[in-house]
Amino acid sequence: MSATTEAKPWDRLKMAERVARDIPEGWYVNLGIGMPTTVADYVPLDREVIFHSENGVLGIGPRPPEAERDPWLINAGKQHVTLRPGGSFVHHADSFAMIRGGHLDLCVLGAFEVAENGDIANWATSENDTAPAVGGAMDLAAGAKRLWVIMDHTTKDGRPKLVHRCGYPLTAVGAVKRVYTNLGVFDVTERGFTVIDMAPGVDAAMLKARTAAELHFQA
């Protein structure tokens, strides 16, 4: 048996599953557009987690089969969804009162970069010449009790996304509490990024080589 095992980064489904494992019953949770939305698929229905969407839906249930889609019921990503028994509808100002008022236990967003001081950049890139689109990300990042990020550890061309300070325009300052990547799970603490889990076969050297910030390891 070799000392170095082959690294097996989590794929996107495994990442979503890893996030879902950490969400306890009773939390009110907003999931961002894209990869964060898939987290809900891994929270079993008998663990009652109440999912919120910016467009005024509280208590989102499983995705409907195509034939049963309700044209009047969408989430913030404009995907058709269902409403669980006990769910409710509110208007946009009340929906964001839930967000900004600190009533959500958790928001999970994607990101371009997360810095070791908890800053997040996820809405615009400097090389992007199309119109910027912020949606509800700034309200969610500033308002939820906890902000977790789910994202690949590096860009497609290998640049680290966990950084000392963000280079892209910020979404919020000091907001991120935890980051889930394909390589590991990182708490944002006073000291910076602390590694709390690693994908199978991933080791400290590999993480350090792919991260542009200091990493702390639990004893």
Partner: protein, 226 residues
């Protein structure tokens, strides 16, 4: 007898004028007052400032209004979508102004206008580009920025049911910005899928009371497009 129900689109949009600010309900394709927007194109008004969450998709509705060159500026949170090609062409050509507002700040600015609040402090956008040029204050230990109320000359709203007093209900996620915008304009105009007799709506279920509504037009549009 109060009767806010009007029979024609011309009556519904009477008083539309160049340069006015129009609040447009809807989120994605759901809850959009798209027939009123088509009628607004027919009035020929131009130089409009439009407040809407999205910058219009496809060809109809808001996209059509922009394509006809009637919109000077759009205030929205999320202009980008899979089929927002008309907006993107105009934006790249420098033919439309864009003010990006965080979605919750946009909803609250509109709500504030409807509630007679001139401005408010919010933590949303602190330390970002959104804070540039805005007053900053520490309130209860938290840094916040000042955001001003956002009012419309017209609000165009889609409802599920309406009565002749202008009491409204909405359908599922079709509610979105509609009730907030209905509060925040000099003239609020509703296209409603159903018209019911006065007293036909359970008072416990009315979402927008008629005090916020000026005109209602019956538009049995059907389901939003998939």
């Amino acid at each position: 007898m109060i009767n806010k129900i009007v029979q024609t689109m011309a009556d519904a949009l009477a008083g539309a004028r160049d340069g006015m600010t129009v609040l447009l309900g809807g989120f994605g394709a759901v809850g959009q007052p798209s027939v009123l927007v088509e009628a607004l194109i027919e009035t020929g008004v131009r130089d409009l400032v439009v407040v809407a969450n999205n910058a219009g998709g496809g060809k109809g509705g808001l996209a059509g209004l922009m394509e006809a060159g009637r919109v000077r500026k759009i205030i929205c949170s999320f202009p980008r979508s899979a089929n927002s090609t008309i907006f993107e062409e105009l934006y790249r050509a420098g033919r439309i102004e864009l003010e990006i507002v965080p979605q919750g700040t946009m909803a609250e600015r509109i709500r504030a206008a409807g509630a007679g609040v001139g401005a408010f402090f919010t933590p949303t956008g602190v330390g970002t580009k959104m804070a540039e040029g805005k007053e900053v204050r520490d309130i209860n230990g938290r840094t916040m920025i000042l955001e001003h109320a956002l009012r419309g000359d017209f609000a165009l709203v889609e409802a599920w049911q309406a009565d002749r007093w202008g009491n409204l209900t909405y359908r599922r996620s079709g509610r979105n910005f509609n009730p907030v915008m209905a509060m925040a304009a000099d003239t609020t105009i509703v296209q409603s899928q159903h018209i019911v007799d006065l007293g036909g709506l359970d008072p416990e279920h009315i979402v927008t009371p008629g005090i916020f509504v000026d005109r209602v037009v019956h538009v049995p549009y059907g389901d939003p497009p998939f």
